[in-house]
Amino acid sequence: MLTLDPGYRRLLQSYRAAQLDPYREVRLRLQAEALAARRGPAELQAFDLARDVIRYPHQEQAVRRVLEELKGRALLADEVGLGKTIEAGIILSEYVLRGLARRALILVPASLQRQWRDELRLKFGLNFHIRRRGEHFRGHPFLITTLDTARVRRNQNEILDQNYDVVIVDEAHRLKNHRTLSYGFASALACRRLLLLTATPVNNDLRELYNLVTLLRPGTLGTFPAFRRKFVARGDRRIPRNTAELSRKLSEVMIRTRRQDTAIRFPARTAETALVEPTADETAIYADVTAFVRQAYREPALKSAASGWHLVLQVLQKEIGSSPRAAVHTLEKLAARCPQRERREEAIELAQRARSIEASSKLAHLIELVEKSGDKVIVFTQFRGTLRHIAETLAGRGIGISTFLGGMTEVQREEAIRCFRDEARVLISTDAGGEGRNLQFCRRVVNFDLPWNPMKLEQRIGRVHRLGQERDVFVHNYSARHTVESYVLDILQKKLNMFELVVGELDLILGNYPDSPGLEDSVFKLWASSDDEREIERGFRRLGEELALARERYEHVRELDRLIFEALRQGTG
């Protein structure tokens, strides 16, 4: 049992040859060895080193159970909004601090990669790398990628050759089906510790729960026929029976905390939409830029996605929805490089007009809001041009501002947040890089422009409406009539009830949407290829119905989960 590492021979040889090392170097080495030593179970260290992490009892309890009882293989199935990501981060950080995690892999949906990276870096000081296309997996000990990327055969082989200390799968209900490539890949992973995160482990029937548990600890629930005979009600694959025993077995791998079991108060989220009446100049330039986009979009040389102009036109349409100032740069780019001469000339003229427009009806609304409400306000925009315009105008009126945008250094970002917390009334921020920062001291968010992707909108609101926020949150959405944004906002409000969702629910809803990464593309395609108002309305109605269906599916799943886990809880009670 006790083996001596043969490396001792080299040391003894050096000793015999009197090849001594400097004493201070040896002392440093022994200090380093002591620090690098894996530590046994003791008190939790990660909380002491985490930044801006509130120590919630349910999270601490979950972390202890995973570390001490479940040996690092667990299904974290807390209800939405209870901070599963933070829980997983603490567990991971604890393993890293104890020297038990030197290689870790996090598999998340593409839209959450940056959020994970930023949260782990800012809260736990863990530097994860988001794998870029073509990069090797073995190069980075701490890696984030998507399940879809990882399961591709050539990537799969490379990953399966590695021994990971910890693997985390977010939105693990994607592994519910044992016949999929993803499931096969996950079950072949060589990892000591595996954390599966999902708020809805059961989407259709109990087989999915069985599959997830079997992935973590095969045999816990026996074979599937045995599981079905023993634990699934006859005639309804969704209803459990022998609930006490099933619940006991599940507790060997699963942790599920309900919101009502915690003392956490979830503040309300109130949304208010301001349908702004644009000025005549704004109306005219919006209409002209839209016409330009539609015409250019239909030209074969610009329409094809391969040409890259397709994306430029999409950005231009978004920019003009934000503010004329935001569109200037793209129009100038088109003026310089567009293959059609006619378009180039048009772009020059539009750019000049956009630059000259000073008055902004949205800005007038914003100033009124800031002056009326005594609260601090975060104003989000997607574009730097708009950000600068807002900043100049507010500063000109003597309102204290702080700005936060992509490309700032870490120190500048910290300073921007500090300035907003301690001095400024308004923080003007782009969407870039704000994840993981603690902004709960503010409760009023203004969406100066609206991203077409609801996930981006959710991420904005999520910066203040999150665990730790104690006051009700107000969201102000600005959009002008008959713009893309007004249609998008309409379906998000009416079909998705987006502003009444709990933190984290939108991810689950969009998970049911047939092609969520393509939502922005669908919106643009619909807008750019439609000729009249009725066609646009029809198109957005269809899109809204798809989203409504996704929401219905999610509600069905949520209800099913509630029923199953309620039955299991009563069984143990």
Binding site: M1, L2, T3, L4, D5, Y8, L11, L12, S14, Y15, R16, A18, Q19, L20, D21, P22, Y23, R24, E25, V26, R27, L28, R29, L30, Q31, A32, E33, A34, L35, A36, A37, R38, R39, P41, A42, Q45, D48, L49, R51, K71, L97, G99, F124, G125, L126, N127, N163, A190, R192, R217, P218, G219, T220, G222, T223, A226, E410, V411, E414, E415
Partner: protein, 399 residues
């Protein structure tokens, strides 16, 4: 506990940076700025002017600082670099107290009782090991063992007190030390380590094997049940098993059952590979330490105690009763013991202290009376010796 670990981390970072020639600015505790030499900038991939913090609270005052903790690439690089360093050193300990006995012995009474011989130096080998326990979870234990190396002393009469490995110290230019059987010393150290960790290791192995057995049993049951189900399914479809008929036909159930078996073997193999209990001892460092010692005599040469005074720690070791020649081991020497006869019993503990009975019949030593002036005791009684020697005390019936 956590603050202790953070302090440990901070001490290491400061030592590391200083050792590599960085200039540290700021207070002795908490966040600081270091100016790194170019070589270290390259090796650490760090900026020339590095600001570091150790506690999250320090970041509010130092927003640009890097929080150094495991998992942070910069800290991990420091650890890696330091761990690549050497593990072999030699130290000559300085005596805590030097000069005439009067300057370091606690009192005049003690001075009267003890006489010092010529200083000598005893070599000890300090082995530092990492003991890695690996099973479902793993943890490490860093332990050191000191082994007295033979020959026991090497007194060449020169200045052994210089710390030869400290760069700021001049090289004393001493002769090479006499050879030592380092392998034998390592074996002794390992035996000692094994003795010390035996209970812990037994508990660890028992727990880990129990867990592994449970896991393997669960897998066995799971796969056997799955294979049996495949068989039942086949029988339901084809009737009772007919090996001749089914051989080579590649029926889906047969293939599935075979697949299950392979999966099982592979899984158990993987679990065993990953989780079978292992305890590995790695020798991390070997330090040769030269301890300044001084022969010491208490009482008369025939009936007193011969001992060795560790000049570094002030402890008396290697005590031998001159009356019965019994080795008495090591006894910490306190001022109170030497100076106050009334306090002896209280301070030294009943098991080692006795007073000579009036009729104490001590075994006669064959050796002639020691007439060296070193041992010329101003005291005529042998109470020192008997106060330390339990066997003499037992013989006297006064224990």
């Amino acid at each position: 506990m956590a603050s202790g670990r953070i302090a440990e981390r901070e001490r290491f970072v400061r030592d590391f940076l200083r050792y590599h020639g960085a200039r540290l600015e700021g207070p002795d505790h908490g966040a600081f700025v270091a100016e790194l030499p170019a070589a270290l900038v390259r090796r650490l991939k760090a900026p020339l002017r590095l600001e570091v913090a150790f506690r999250p609270a320090e970041l509010s005052e130092h927003p640009g600082a890097t929080l150094l903790a495991p998992g942070n690439p910069l800290f991990d690089r420091m650890l890696r670099l330091a761990r690549r360093g050497g593990g072999l050193s030699r130290r000559y300990l300085r005596p805590e107290r030097m000069g005439e006995p009067a300057s370091w012995l606690p009192s005049a009474g003690a001075l009267a009782a003890a006489r010092l011989g010529t200083p000598a130096y005893r070599r000890r080998l300090l082995f530092t090991f990492r003991i890695a326990y690996r099973a479902f979870e793993g943890y490490d234990d860093i332990r050191s063992v000191v082994v007295g190396a033979n020959p026991p002393s090497a007194a060449d009469g020169r200045d052994f007190f210089r710390d030869r490995n400290l760069t700021e110290e001049p090289e004393p230019g001493i002769d090479p030390a006499p050879p030592v059987d380092v392998e034998a010393a390592l074996l002794t150290a390992l035996a000692e380590i094994e003795r010390r960790i035996a209970p812990q290791m037994a508990r660890f192995v028992q727990r880990a094997e129990g867990q592994l057995a449970n896991e393997t049993e669960r897998l066995r049951e799971f796969y056997l049940a799955a294979i049996a189900e495949e068989k039942t399914r086949r029988e339901r479809r084809n009737g009772p098993r007919d090996d001749h008929r089914s051989e080579g036909r590649g029926e889906p159930e047969v293939i599935a059952a075979t697949g299950r078996k392979l999966e099982w073997v592979e899984r158990v193999d993987r679990e065993t590979r990953l989780f079978a209990p292992r305890v590995t001892v790695t020798l991390l460092g070997l330090e040769e330490i030269w301890m300044p010692v001084c022969p010491l005599a208490l009482g008369t040469p025939e009936e007193g105690v011969a001992a060795e005074l560790d000049l570094a720690s002030g402890e008396i070791t290697h005590l031998v009763c001159q009356t019965c020649k019994t080795p008495l081991g090591g006894v910490p020497l306190t001022g109170a013991r030497l100076s106050s006869p009334q306090a002896r019993g209280r301070v030294a503990g009943a098991e080692t202290v006795c007073y000579p009975p009036p009729s104490h019949d001590s075994p006669k030593s064959d050796s002639p009376k020691h007439d060296s002036p070193e041992y010329d005791s101003p005291r005529s009684d042998n109470s020192w010796a008997q106060s330390f020697c339990p066997s003499c005390a037992r013989a006297s019936g006064r224990a």
